[in-house]
Symmetry: C2
Subunit: 289 residues, 2 copies
């Protein structure tokens, strides 16, 4: 998979830049190297590449995105949140290291994401403005106007009978969409892309974010139907606001197809250079049915 090895090597390096408690390093690494597909960093690097930028310059941003994604999964799995004992087929972080340590491993990864971007940026002062603008895009997507707000709204609406399509859109634009869009936009910005390129890639990111969430929701339903009894601690989720629960399975599939088309259309002007993005949108569809 494109860039996967170099992303993993950079993550190893960034997680080992100094002296920290050995077990804390292990706890952070446990979740960072849990077989993730590195979707967000790969999107960031692909956007930088499409815009003619260097992979090396974008790498600290790309890895920060993965650290932020990982911290959000660790905190999400905690008993006070989703209370999930498993993640990607392995015990979740707090089941291995305990709740307090999992909380700190998450806090540590979020801090390290920003520390990595800032430190690596200082050695790249020649292009500091665009580099820090990209880091700010990541911060915005990850924080109280993006992912954290989405998490909050998701929790707040868990048992809200009035939650509707608008609520669903609000939640997912922030909870998953914001960091996915930030991944692409930050990659374009660090590569000094012009405004129209940034806008086109942002549009791809926004449609892909929705597509990703719809197919995730569909997979939850289809997966649950196929693996009855295998899902643990997921009972509460059946009452959750999802695309299938709101629109039905068939309409959700049509919506996913539509988002994939819109995502592909957004990068059409780049022709062959956008092949990776077009394939990504297509692959999201086939992973479901």
């Amino acid at each position: 998979m494109k860039h996967l090895e170099s992303i993993n090597a950079a993550l190893e390096r960034y997680l080992s830049t100094g002296d920290m408690p050995k077990l804390m390093h292990e706890a952070m690494s446990y979740s960072v190297f849990a077989g993730g597909k590195r979707l967000r960093p790969r999107m960031c690097l692909a956007a930088a590449e499409l815009a003619g930028g260097s992979i090396e310059d974008a790498m600290p941003i790309a890895c920060a995105l993965e650290m932020i994604h990982t911290y959000s999964l660790i905190h999400d799995d905690l008993p006070c949140m989703d209370d999930d004992d498993y993640r990607r087929g392995r015990l979740s972080n707090h089941k291995v290291y305990g709740e307090a340590n999992a909380l700190l491993a998450g806090d540590g990864l979020l801090s390290l994401a920003f520390e990595t971007m800032l430190r690596e940026g200082i050695s790249k002062v020649a292009h500091a403005p665009r580099y820090y603008e990209a880091a700010q895009v990541v911060a915005h997507g990850a924080g109280v106007f993006g992912m954290v707000a989405g998490q909050w709204a998701d929790l707040a609406n868990e048992n809200n009978p009035d939650a509707d399509a608008e609520t669903l859109t609000y939640i997912h634009r922030r909870k998953t969409g914001a960091l996915i869009t930030a991944s692409i936009v930050s990659g374009a910005i660090v590569a000094n892309a012009d405004e129209s390129t940034v806008a086109a890639l942002r549009s791809f990111g926004e449609h892909y974010g929705v597509l990703f969430q719809i197919t995730d929701d569909i997979l939850d339903v289809v997966g649950d139907a196929e693996t009855v009894g295998k899902t643990l601690g997921k009972d509460a989720e059946q009452s959750k606001l999802t695309y299938p629960s709101l629109y039905g399975l068939e309409e959700s599939r049509r919506m996913a197809e539509r988002e994939a088309e819109l995502a592909a259309a957004a990068v059409l002007p780049f022709g062959e250079k956008a092949a990776w993005f077009t394939a990504l949108a297509k692959a999201a569809l086939t992973r479901t049915y």
Copy 2:
């Protein structure tokens, strides 16, 4: 108190820069505006002032330090950590907003700290290198080589019979010392201070950090003795590794005095310009006995 009002006004502003869930904003504000003394931002601004820099330039860094300090208190109070129902005489964040929301309010404040520094920095591109160097100092003090590592080590040694003076020093240098030192050093750096000024202020910060921890530990003992029955959920702490438990109360007091002297000596070369720092070190002593 010097700069207190302008710090609070800036915090209000930075916490209200965009659209976020109303209750999330309230939960974050609840802890940020809980009557803290703003020690870290005041140290940052005072260092910037001493070095001849502008308060305005240092303000985003100063407020980020307070947001980071506040997030650490919210996460610290959670049931899986210290399980404290009260903080500064009010219910702790999770007792008011629930555990999941308190976790997210903390994550939100940590994210907002970095987003604020990055966003405000972009409008200050003229002095970007030193501004981002200061932000990196904050990140380093807050993260896996600083505060988070200190928290981890503190937890790891809670019931360790072999924990000794070296362990205590390791923990407190990181848990409280790292962010305090980062507060002063970041203020000096954002003001473009020369190397010897940064080194002198760093030395003040390191000694003040130890002083702060010793007097905190002493206050815990003295306070507990004077307010038997008033402390809630603190039973477990009696077995904790502290300066009084390791050195006794009298020796701890002598150590605090020594650290105050060393802190004052570090800023002696600045004469009257360092009056605020000298007074701060002195005040730390008198707050205990």
